[in-house]
């Protein structure tokens, strides 16, 4: 039994506690590491060599470690982010404070490959590494081949940096059922299970509800998913008993192709999986059986994500409401554009949306004429913080210098990272497992 207790960095904690309390899991797995999350973590580590792991690690560990220890549930997570060793050391300290003496924490190292990339490394997006400036860091997506060594230590807690998300779920299945690393159909079956679980509540009713069309009961207390996996790789996907949410053929179908491109070629470090013949069967309330994934040999190269300094994103907003609000907001937009372009000579990217008329879909669809509660939202990206500060100043100035009745000014300027991808031959990666004990 494999449970997912987090599907992204900001996922809920109380639902993870409920999952461990109510289900007899073998493994609790927390997936907390997006591509940009990792790039930001590298920046944190540069500022402080003891940081660079998941900022919520301490809170998650304090809530979950005692429960897992009491129930014999092993804990696996990529919360190590840019600094898995420091994450393991922090976990050991927390375990001691919780009285969990003897608890062992295995950490998988070696995903950071910044030194292994030559400046002329081709990027998937086009161009070469050197064209994009100095990288913050580069991390290879490790897979089960590396992760199994950490599981084999028997440590109650296993922490990693960058590992392919489905591999976090597949590795415990391989260890439990003794699947061979070239049993491609079994590996594809386990990858399918991992893919469905790795985004947490996205398979149990989250990112799904649409009132009147797709109802989800008690979404405020949605449960995390877990899988009952059979030795042949078929599985039942279900969720924490007594929790909100829904698991049915539709929630599973939507998640099956989430961030999948060619459904016949879902590539991980472990296998190339074919999801085109997957069978999805509702076998009971909130219980869906899955089977039918096929597998082909794993790719010879590992994917690498490279992070770069991305300058600053600045956003500033002001609102207009009541009669003729749309026309006043349009006037504010015209003024702001003239101030930034003609008066200040800003030539970089600038976007001004009118929220309440058309914002998210403004590029795709025409702007409606009318609206009685309209929020002007301006955004720019620039290498220099000064342009962001100027944008915020100009939007705030609209309070007294702009159209009538403008209110609710807010602004924020946040540092950005950008990412690119490259390939690296497997043999260039040297992974290592270190075990710490509380």
């Amino acid at each position: 039994m494999l449970g997912c207790g987090a599907g992204f960095a900001s996922d809920r904690l109380d639902a993870a506690v409920a999952l461990v309390e109510r289900v007899r899991l073998d493994w609790l797995i927390l997936e907390c590491l997006g591509e940009r999350t990792l790039a930001f973590a590298h920046r944190d580590r540069r500022a402080d060599p003891n940081r660079g792991f998941d900022p919520l690690l301490e809170r998650r560990m304090r809530a979950l470690l005692p429960l897992c220890a009491a129930r014999g549930v092993r804990f696996l997570s990529n919360m190590g982010a840019a600094n898995p060793r420091a994450a393991a050391q922090a976990t050991v300290r927390i375990a001691r404070e919780l009285g969990l003496l003897g608890l062992r924490v295995a950490v998988l190292l070696g995903d950071e490959v910044t030194e292994a990339l030559a400046p002329d490394t081709p990027l998937w997006e086009g161009g070469r590494l050197a064209d994009r400036g100095p990288p913050l860091a580069a991390n290879a997506y490790l897979g089960c081949a590396e992760l199994l060594a950490a599981l084999a230590t028997g440590a109650e807690v296993v922490l990693t940096g960058r590992v392919a998300d489905p591999s976090l779920f597949l590795a415990p299945m391989i260890a439990r059922f003794g699947w061979r690393l070239d049993d491609w159909d079994r590996l594809a079956a386990g990858t399918l299970i991992g893919h469905l679980l790795e985004c947490g509540m996205q398979v149990t009713g989250g990112y799904f509800a649409d009132p009147g069309k797709k109802e989800v009961p008690d979404l405020a207390r949605c449960g995390f998913p877990y899988a009952e996996v059979a030795p042949d790789g078929t599985a039942v996907i279900t969720k924490t008993p007594g929790s909100g949410g829904r698991v049915d053929a539709r929630t599973v179908k939507e998640q099956l192709f989430y961030e999948v491109h060619d459904p016949a070629r879902y590539v991980t470090p472990d296998v190339v999986a074919d999801f085109t013949r997957v069978q999805i069967t509702e076998i009971g309330p909130d219980r869906v059986q899955i089977s039918g994934a096929r597998g082909y040999p794993r790719p010879p190269q590992l994917k690498v994500t490279i992070g770069f300094d991305g300058g600053y994103l600045a956003e500033a907003e002001i609102s207009y409401a009541g009669p003729n609000a749309a026309a006043r907001a349009r006037l504010a937009r015209a003024i702001l554009s003239e101030r930034m372009r003609a008066v200040h000579g800003y030539e970089g990217p600038l976007r001004i949306d009118l929220i309440g008329l058309r914002a998210l879909h403004a590029t795709a669809l025409p702007e409606p004429e009318e609206g009685e509660d309209v929020r002007l939202r301006a955004a720019l990206r620039a290498p220099e913080r000064e342009w962001g500060e100027l944008l915020a100043w100009e939007v705030e100035a609209l309070l007294t210098c702009g159209p009538a009745g403008g209110g609710g000014f807010r602004s924020r300027i946040v540092p950005q990272v950008t990412t690119a991808s490259a390939s690296l031959p497997r043999e260039r990666v040297r992974s290592e497992v270190v075990v710490f004990a509380a």
Binding site: R36, E125, Y207, F208, D210, K213, K214, R250, K253, E254, Q255, L256, F257, Y258, E259, V260, H261, D262, P263, A264, T276, R277, I280, G310, P349, L350, R351, D353, I355, A359, L360, H361, A362, T363, A364, L365, R377, A379, L380, R381, Q416, T418, T419, S421
Partner: protein, 107 residues
Amino acid sequence: MSGRLRLYDIAHARAGDKGDTSNVCVFAYEPKHYPLLVRALTPERLRAAFPALLRGPVRVFPLPQLSGVNLVMENALEGGVNASLNLDGHGKSWSFLLLSLEVEAED
């Protein structure tokens, strides 16, 4: 039944992103509407409906046994979350953008 109807009335969808590529999987609530989906969601129709947004190749992967299609749209995220100035840099709402399309129903 004939006339125009919105995809939203017969289908549900989910959007995901990788870089500047958006993928949206769309499923008919009822298998009988699957042919309508396939007819409505061709690369040509999508690019004609949203020319300013869909600036790259569009691939359509039919999923007949699930009554759905998976759409993969390159250069469709205004630069992606690295570069987009859209509030929704991931294109999470592209699912509902596509569901707003109208189709010609005839059966």
